[in-house]
């Protein structure tokens, strides 16, 4: 069977402008959540988020590009740039045709939508910028990445709310495994921190006003973040033949649907996805040393996720580590699984388990080793990354050390 190597990684999020900065912040348990700053924030009841402050598009893109690139596209392009530089691949000829892009996003160009609704509804103007449609479409990031690096193979965008990037990366992995492509640029991006984005989320009453405290008994909701992470997935022999540095191996993937409720998570849907990913990786349950949890910090997710992990792993659930890095970088919705994959790579490569910060009180319904507040050194050979979306769509990836 064709195996999948990760040969490049890139990111921008509230913890860092690149992978080394982000991993350092994760090791140190740094908080990326702060007061939100954007127009009309005073009309919101939720005013915190993991926003990338002091981000200036003009530092990275020219005027023509900014006219076409929503914030989520900009984040994807910056992340892809870092990942592809690390991978050191040039895409021309046959390789270009056998290389594609699959990126996840939940909302696509939400800032563009928000700004232009404001223009026509609030300001009463009858004209918007001509590029609104190509700027806000959820596949814009995928398309611009393919254009910039000449990736001419299978490419599309995936939108499954909070599981978008895990579904995207799973699909990318399956395409290489199936022989449809040799290189896939994949991950996810989200930029929903704007008035309309947060206003919509406020309505569900699941957001915290003060902090994200996954697995802690006093948790009171999720905190949103923004950003992207993009990876280069490459067929193992292709990577080895050119002597590429392999960061980790993507070994397994599974996805399930709860087929139950549009917002409430289900233990069995999550458990089937977790067990499926381990099975697909061809390893034993006891081989899993670390799980990067979905861990949103809502009452419902965290207890359901812990119950699912306990059900799948039995006694081994008490031996493995499970942490949620969302307390640091926020819930990046359609980009969150991609940013969280960085913590999985850090665990495998550097032997450092990112902590669950903000942890204050044990919850008997989340009685697992959640690596509270401080990173831990540990040698793990296989890890999982969980993502369970609104709509009951679940996607779990399994990773192993580079061979």
């Amino acid at each position: 069977m064709r195996r999948i190597a990760i040969t490049g990684a890139g990111t921008i999020n509230a913890l860092g402008r690149n992978v080394p900065e982000t991993l350092e912040a994760m090791r140190e348990g740094r908080l990326g959540i702060s007061d939100l700053a954007f127009r009309d924030v005073d009309r919101l009841s939720i005013r915190i988020g993991a926003q990338i402050h002091d981000y200036v598009p003009e530092d990275h893109f020219n005027r023509q590009q900014i006219a076409l690139y929503d914030r989520f596209t900009q984040f994807a392009l910056l992340s892809a740039g870092e990942a592809l530089e690390q991978a050191g691949l040039e895409f021309a000829g046959a390789l270009a045709d056998r290389s594609g892009v699959i990126l996840g996003t939940s909302a696509g160009g939400m800032n563009t939508t928000d700004e232009n609704y404001r223009t026509v509804f609030e300001e009463g103007k009858n004209r918007v910028h001509p590029f609104v449609v190509p700027k806000l479409m959820p596949n814009a990031a995928t398309s611009h990445v393919s254009m910039q690096w000449n990736l001419r193979g299978p490419s599309f965008a995936v939108s499954t709310a909070c599981a978008s990037s895990n579904h995207a990366m799973g699909q990318a992995m399956m395409m290489i495994r199936a022989g449809m492509a040799d290189v896939m640029v994949t991950g996810g991006s989200e930029a929903m921190l704007c008035f309309g984005g947060i206003k919509a989320w406020e309505g569900l009453r699941v957001m915290s006003k003060d902090a994200c405290r996954p697995f802690s008994a006093n948790r009171n909701g999720m905190v949103q973040g923004e950003g992207a992470a993009v990876f280069v997935f490459e067929e193992m022999e292709h990577a080895k033949a050119r002597g590429a540095e392999i960061l980790a191996e993507v070994t397994g993937f599974a996805m399930t649907a709860d087929a139950a409720d549009i917002v409430m998570p289900s233990k069995s849907g999550a458990a089937r996805a977790i067990a499926g990913a381990v099975r697909d990786a061809g390893i034993g349950l006891e081989d899993i040393g670390y799980i990067n949890a979905h861990g949103t910090g809502t009452a419902a997710n965290d207890k359901t996720e812990c119950a699912a992990v306990s059900e799948v792993f039995g006694r081994h659930a008490d031996r493995l580590m499970i942490s949620s890095t969302k307390a640091m970088h926020g819930h990046i919705i359609g980009g969150t699984g991609a940013v969280e994959l960085l913590a999985c790579i850090m665990a495998l490569r550097d032997g450092v388990i990112a902590p669950t910060i903000g942890y204050q009180e044990p919850d008997p319904e989340c009685a697992l080793d959640v690596v509270p507040n401080e990173a831990r050194e540990a040698s793990v050979a296989a890890v999982l990354s969980n993502a369970f979306a609104f709509g009951g769509l679940n996607a779990v990836l399994a990773l192993g050390r580079a061979p």
């Binding site: 009841s45 569900l204 009453r205 699941v206 009171n220 909701g221 917002v263 809502t298 009452a299």
Partner: protein, 80 residues
């Protein structure tokens, strides 16, 4: 208030009793959130309610009577 909750419960308003809980009425978590939205819109108030910890919210949703009392307080606070 009774009309809002009765609509969520898909019942006639006359069937609602003040001691009914939301469970009795078959109103689930999404129904609670939708009811609160309707209450806020109807009475022009802001209801402090976090679905993560309904028991600990300042807004008591333990029964129809409790919700009515809480809304009356919020309306009084707004006028004050």
């Amino acid at each position: 208030m009774v009309e809002i909750l009765a609509e969520q419960a898909v019942r006639d308003p006359s069937e609602l009793r003040m001691d009914h809980t939301l469970d009795d009425l078959g109103i689930d978590s999404l129904g609670v959130v939708e009811s609160i939205f309707a209450i806020e819109e109807s009475f022009d108030i802001t209801v402090p309610f976090n679905a993560n910890a309904p028991g600990e919210s300042e807004f008591d949703v333990s029964s129809v009577a409790a919700i009515v009392a809480a809304v009356e307080r919020l309306i009084a606070d707004r006028k004050a």
